[in-house]
């Protein structure tokens, strides 16, 4: 089926399967593998994208429901030579190890900082509690984002 949406700032017209998830459309249909598939149940946040101003698990969004939506994936948050401040912070602060969860954390944290540029420590923890990291124990991620928040 035909879908029109705004993806990373560009208007796109794409063909999606009627039962296809947004995550599958991004990864397999549009060649944007930055959003990761780790659980396909909305438990781990590895596939987080911003859709119409909300951070959502793209594995739980039906591609068919994105017609007319404004979507930003990790690929829309910064370039290798022009990183988003969240990306810079995670690199500096030891917030990245295997990196599989990282795109989801980048999107979720960038979304948090957009609405709240100076989150408290507990607000960071809570806002990112839907993103699972198996490597860092969250310490490096927390310190990175606390520093970005000016703490």
């Amino acid at each position: 089926m035909d879908i029109r949406f705004r993806l990373n700032g560009e208007d796109r017209a794409v063909d999606a399967g009627t039962s296809q998830s947004l995550l599958s459309l991004l990864r397999d249909g549009l060649g944007l593998p930055g959003s990761k598939n780790a659980c396909e149940q909305g438990e781990c946040g590895s596939c987080t994208v911003v859709m119409d101003g909300r951070a959502v698990c793209s594995c739980l969004v039906l591609a068919a429901d994105t017609d007319g939506a404004d979507i930003t994936t990790v690929e829309g948050f910064g370039e290798e030579d022009a990183l988003h401040p969240v990306q810079e912070a995670l690199l500096e602060g030891g917030g990245v190890q295997c990196g599989f969860c990282t795109p989801g954390f980048v999107v979720a944290a960038a979304h948090l900082f957009e609405s709240n540029p100076t989150p408290e420590t507990d607000e960071i923890r809570e806002a990112l509690s839907g993103n699972i990291c198996r490597c860092t124990g969250y310490g490096g991620i927390l310190r990175s984002l606390e520093k970005l928040a000016g703490r």
């Binding site: 780790a38 295997c98 509690s129 198996r134 124990g137 969250y138």
Partner: protein, 739 residues
């Protein structure tokens, strides 16, 4: 170590250098195995056994083959070479060979034009089973003689007795590594009968040696390439879809990709061995340990995998980091129809540490001694024999120091908040501060580093200096731990040149670096890279007739006499080496001998808040002092320690595969509980830097110790808060409430 190294280099050892793969990872551009694609690529999918044990009565692939878009359906009959695989013994059939022996065991694979068709085809395969009674109880398996390994330890007087005796029985549940990236691979036929494979792996050369034999190809017809790995923690030390995806690619003549979903991933890799352990400690009235006796059973699942080595670790670290003159222990790894078990961070030591540290606390109570004083009184030091094997410990072993430094870390303030995010149960608002009791607990551990028991453990590396800088070739797999960063730093410091790139090499380009496991890569591949870099430096100084080398070139008496361009005018300077750690021996019939290459100790203190009425626990803080040799990259060290601690916390209170009749009941991230940001404790740490005799610049492996004693420390803290005995992990709410 007497080495002359460059002194002016930036980004060398000791700095918190940023990861070279960091930028692609934060932008989403880093290519993991599951992200790879190729022109004309087909998708693979797997048919699995729905039973833990069943006889295959009928298997008809024709209905699947009839589906348009299906290109191949393969079963055990289609394996052209060795029909079985396995790291130590090749006892696992590539596909079910008439009898399924664990839930989820692969029966057939399909290649189709797209993933949906592949899964439809899997469902269309006509199959009939006769369900058989699975063997799922590890003690019953032992009685029936279903043994992968019996490892005994007998050292000292078996009749020795102490004034105080404590006995205990302990259990450890089945923990999953739950790496966020599931098993994934892409196989591309080379058009000449061979195949190139990119796959989630911790040890490409070991996989490769099994794969080409099952494919009935020559070794050089199969090339296994390193690729992006979304975490490992042991789950990828044994193979998953490797042979399957190659078979499909060779059969169809197309590139084939396979990616396990999470439901498949759970039975698709080995897990931490569940354990049952019976312990008896005897001590003199002053607390001196006199004798430790233990019987340890580990559930090895249906196939061997690395179970014999895990059993060895369990039994050789039965007594922990303590001096004991008499140790008598029996370790068993048994065969059952439970999910596969093998390597997971801590590798057998996690299980026994939970038991021996509970025993030490019981002993302290029986003696009315401070638990840390008791541990220090018996602490193992350099020059002592390991209590189990009798091996004299030659490496640094700061057991007393880790305990003292840990104890000196200030405790967190008492609970002073009614913010539900700070309370057990969290934002479910299930409790209030007046129902919460705080507890504090300690544990100490010792772990071997690198491979043991006479294994020929080596790592190859090649360092190449050219005008553009230095390349370090290695087959060592970066799984997220930061080895690529540390190798860069080691080579920079050793050589004096800043521009260093680590080049992941495939199995045809360089020899094995060994497994990324056993906390070994920093010491092994790091050791190889150091050795090769020092040799390149020596060759460069000879060629340039100088006395120092930097990023600019060769210097003599403080003057630059030759640029790198001039130095390499006749070609790059290259050195290839194979690094080995000091040799180890096979154990004798009593488990005695020089079995281990190096050791590291760690101590943990956990602070917990518990609502005993509801069985809720919040781990407030876990502090540690760890013996790391030298912090090559302090930021990476911290990340390894914090990450390892959280996996230990997970085993202590959350993480368990619930298995009934061999079937995993919670094979999803919804039901297998992983620690989230809100479950993560604060961590304070002290790094003890006493050099290893053979690690690069004295560094020791650091990956596993954080996961080992953190678990018993958390449980000790819950015991302290509740007064309960708590003899199993994970501690479940019902273990606290008694309901």
């Amino acid at each position: 170590m007497t080495t002359t190294t460059g002194t002016r280099v930036r980004g060398g050892i000791g700095e918190s250098v940023k990861r070279p793969d960091g930028v692609p990872k934060v932008t989403g551009n880093f290519a993991y195995a599951s992200d790879l694609t190729a022109e004309g690529m087909l998708w693979g999918a797997t048919l699995r056994s729905p039973y833990a044990r069943a006889r295959l009565v009928r298997l008809d692939i024709a209905p699947a083959l009839a589906i348009p878009g299906v290109q191949a359906v393969l079963t055990q009959e289609d394996v052209p070479g060795r029909k079985t695989f396995g790291q130590i013994t090749q006892d696992q059939p590539v596909f079910v060979d008439g009898e399924a022996r664990f839930w989820g065991e692969p029966v057939a694979v399909v290649a189709a034009d797209d993933p949906e068709t592949a899964r439809l085809a899997v469902a269309a395969i006509d199959i009939e089973w006769e369900e058989l009674e699975p063997l799922v109880d590890m003690e019953e398996a032992l009685e029936q003689g279903e043994l992968f390994r019996h490892a005994p330890v007998h050292r000292g007087d078996p009749a020795a007795t102490g004034a105080v005796v404590v006995e205990g029985y302990y259990e450890v549940g089945m923990q999953d590594q739950a790496p966020l990236g599931t098993e994934a691979g892409l196989a591309i036929p080379d058009g000449e009968g061979g195949v190139d494979l990119w796959v989630t792996s911790q040890w490409t050369h070991e996989d490769h040696s099994q794969i080409y034999r099952s494919l009935d190809l020559a070794a050089d017809q199969v090339r296994q390439h390193p690729t992006g790995i979304g975490g490992a923690f042991g789950a990828r030390e044994d193979m998953s879809l490797h042979i399957h995806v190659c078979l499909l690619a060779l059969r169809t003549g197309h590139p084939v990709k396979m990616v396990y979903n999470r439901l498949e991933s759970f039975p698709g890799h080995v897990h931490r061995h569940p354990a049952r352990m019976w312990y008896r400690h005897e001590a003199d009235a002053d607390g001196t340990l006199v004798k430790v006796e233990a019987k340890i059973i580990l559930d090895g699942g249906a196939y061997m995998d690395t179970t014999p080595a895990v059993v060895a670790n369990a039994v050789y670290f039965t007594a922990g980091p303590y001096r004991v003159d008499s140790v008598h222990a029996e370790g068993y790894g048994v065969r059952t129809n439970n999910p596969p078990t093998g390597a997971m961070r801590g590798f057998g030591v996690v299980q026994v540490c939970f038991a021996h540290e509970a025993q030490m606390d019981r002993l302290a109570t029986a003696l009315d001694m401070d638990p840390l004083e008791l541990r220090k009184h018996n602490a193992l030091r350099t020059g002592d024999p390991l209590a189990t094997t009798g091996q004299i410990i030659e490496t640094s072993l700061p057991t007393v120091e880790v305990i003292d430094q840990l104890a000196a870390i200030p405790l967190p303030p008492p609970l002073n908040s009614d913010d539900p995010r700070r309370l057990p149960g969290g934002t479910g608002r299930t409790t209030t501060p007046e129902y919460v009791t705080r507890g504090v607990g300690y544990a100490v551990s010792i772990k071997n580093i690198a491979f043991s028991e006479a294994f020929d453990d080596f790592a190859e590396a090649r360092v190449v200096l050219s005008p553009t800088g230095v390349e370090v070739y290695t087959a060592a797999v970066e799984v997220g731990q930061g080895m690529v960063t540390v190798l860069q730093q080691i080579v920079r410091t050793a050589l004096g040149v800043e521009q260093v790139v680590v080049v992941p090499a495939d199995t045809s380009e360089i020899g094995s670096a060994g497994s990324t496991s056993a906390s070994r890569q920093t010491q092994m591949t790091g050791g190889a890279a150091l050795e090769a870099a020092l040799e390149v430096r020596k060759l460069a100084l000879e060629r340039g007739a100088g006395d120092d080398l930097t990023s600019e070139g060769v210097w003599l008496a403080g003057e630059l006499i030759m640029t790198l361009d001039e130095l390499c005018a006749d070609g790059p300077i290259s050195y290839h080496t194979r690094f080995r750690h000091p040799p180890t021996e096979e154990p004798d019939e009593n488990g005695q001998g020089v079995l281990h290459a190096d050791y590291a100790v760690a101590a943990h203190r956990a602070v917990v808040d518990v609502d005993a009425e509801l069985g809720l626990v919040r781990v407030v803080q876990v502090d540690t002092a760890q013996d790391i040799g030298l912090a090559l990259n302090p930021l990476s060290v911290r990340g390894q320690i914090e990450g390892g601690i959280l996996q230990g916390v997970g085993l202590a209170i959350m993480e368990e595969l619930v298995v009934e009749k061999g079937v995993i009941l919670n094979a999803s991230f919804t039901d297998y509980l992983l620690p989230t940001f809100l479950d993560a404790p604060d961590v304070e740490m002290v790094l003890i830097e006493e050099p290893s005799p053979w690690g690069p610049f004295g560094a020791k492996g650091i990956g596993e110790p954080p996961t080992i004693s953190s678990t018993p420390a958390v449980v000790a803290a819950i015991r302290n808060a509740t007064g309960l005995a708590l003899n199993r992990v994970p501690v479940r709410p019902q273990d606290i409430t008694g309901t």
